[in-house]
Amino acid sequence: MDLINNLMLGFTVALSPFNMLMCLVGVFLGTLIGVLPGVGPVATIAMLLPVTFNLSPIAALIMLAGIYYGAQYGGSTTAILVNIPGESSSVVTCLDGYQMARQGRAGPALAVAALASFFAGCVSTLIVAAFAPPLAEVALKFGPSEYFSLMVLGLVSAVVLAHGSILKAIAMVILGLLLGLVGTDVNSGVLRYAFGISELSDGIGFVTVAMGMFGLAEIVMNLEHTGEVREVFTDKKLHLWPSKEDFRRSIAPTLRGTFLGSALGILPGGGALLASFGAYTLEKKVSKYKHEFGKGAVEGVAAPESANNAGAQTSFIPLLTLGIPSNAVMALMIGAMMIQGIAPGPQVMTEKPQLFWGMIASMWVGNLMLIILNLPLIGMWVKLLTVPYRVLYPSILVFMVIGVYSLSNNPFDCFLMALFGVFGYICVKLECEPAPLILGFILGPLMEENLRRAMLLSRGDPLVFFQKPISAGFLIAAMILLVIIALPAIRKKREEAFVEA
């Protein structure tokens, strides 16, 4: 069996002592920072990216993936204990998890979240292992027109996931694409939009943009509110173990959440966020305990938690097979791969099987570590939550500036980060989401390159995108998506869904 052989290869890589250590460090750091309110996984990974520069590519990617799950997991902990989602994909966990905590059942809520995530992690690791190779095979046959259309679909999906006005989200995507073009044009060698600044000849660094728009802007947003009133449930000793009843009621939601999450994670523009929302809504519809939702139903924790973990992992599929990031976190992973000198794409699987399978196996290892590490450490994470923000944010800032400065050992990157921080803050005030911009930013140069090649091959006939079946399929899917979200009825539903969050 190929699959088993491949997984064996992966586990020999992932279980080597050094890689295990890196995974542990990643998971630990990820959880640590994920628990801190106001720092999401994007900022966490961006902040810790320089830590991985000196590692080998595989160790770096294993550590980064660990940071991602860790941050995700830490986000759920804060959602349950303080009703503050550490990140957007644990927003729905707040609804029932926090209610459980208020009823004195914080322990079981945390345990159910951990166990459901672990189960989902195991299943989705297998799904990634099973689906990635055939997809990579298909992707190897993709020409420039297929790639271009796939990117269009990915960007449209990012628009669907953004809050608020669709028009503004599309505009942000295009602005991102344009910003991505800054620097030397690969085809002609012409410097574009550099204004004579030599530091811009390699383009604007992705980490710089992400840190500015997510990190800096977030800190300023958090500083707007005076006097934080956080109700942390630390007074009683936590009884971790869920009751038999909890277990029984969590099984079906976990299964449904895992599969729905895995499916939604694969979609371009999908990932953990869409998965957790989808799973919660589904569970609310099918559950026998509908009336308890929002009042501390254990299903309302198990379903989204399993789904967001499953979605987080399967969102690696488009990254590993197509080299296309489906969300901002994956975009950072691409950035990390490029820094390590690996061109992301379908060839990674055949050319670097150790890296490919090692990373997949490390997902499972990381999940196991999360559960071993976190159940006993919950007490420590809870303590961390009581650290006041006025102490936290200067420390976060230290990591951010050092991280950005070390990208090219130049103050200019920090200057750019400040610029994007201010811009990100303005965007928040004008209700323009940064996530679509980031995705566009990453895809900008790739899109232009593939558009050029496709048009060259077709001798300037733009219909080529519709003549190739796969490419046409992507474009039609993108159009259907756009039409659907533009429909008034669905538009209203979408707004409601975000309001509920």
């Binding site: 295009i174 300023v220 800032l397 070390s406 920090c414 803050y425 558009l451």
Partner: protein
């Protein structure tokens, strides 16, 4: 004409500005401006080659995108005049200013002053942007961050930062 949704109005303007900016830099200034500039001995350097649909020049993609962005911005702007919307949320300049200043101070002081002092400056300025500023607490935090940065980043990750000011080494 009344602006019904100020938030969208400004967002629309911003998109139009960016769109036209990218567009015009790609296309280059109109001929009469170039002529005019020549009179003042100034040469416009902007404007990239457009190319054709088959062989796209560096201007092609940004021109199309810039045009699309400006058009979308215009839609958003028109919508803001027609549909009732929300005000622009209040800007809090104090935290924004201090966070940005702390960041810039660190970046430009690192080489001359070294990690130790620039981290201290960063912590103090950023802490001052918050609501509460307790001297003792901030000082302790700064010391902790200084030690941590040197141990983790300079010693551990071997980033090539000077630890002490240039004149002391």
């Amino acid at each position: 004409m009344r602006i019904k949704s100020p938030r969208d109005f400004w967002a629309g303007l911003m998109f139009i500005g960016f769109g036209l900016g990218f567009l015009f830099i790609a296309v280059g200034p109109p001929a009469f401006l170039v002529e005019l500039a020549k009179q003042f001995d100034y040469k416009f350097e902007y404007g990239y080659q457009m190319g054709t649909a088959v062989r796209m020049g560096p201007a092609y993609f940004p021109t199309v995108l810039g045009g699309m962005l400006a058009a979308l911005g215009l839609f958003v702007l028109i919508e803001s005049l027609a549909i009732e919307g929300e005000k622009v949320a209040r800007f809090y300049f104090r935290p924004l200013l201090f966070i940005v200043a702390a960041n810039l101070a660190f970046a430009y002081l690192l080489k001359p002053l070294g990690v130790m002092l620039s981290i201290a400056v960063l912590v103090f300025i950023s802490a001052y942007g918050g609501h509460e500023f307790k001297w003792k607490e901030v000082a302790l935090l700064a010391i902790a961050m200084m030690i941590m940065s040197v141990l983790v980043f300079v010693k551990g990750l071997t980033l090539p930062f000077p630890i002490w000011p240039a004149f002391m080494e």
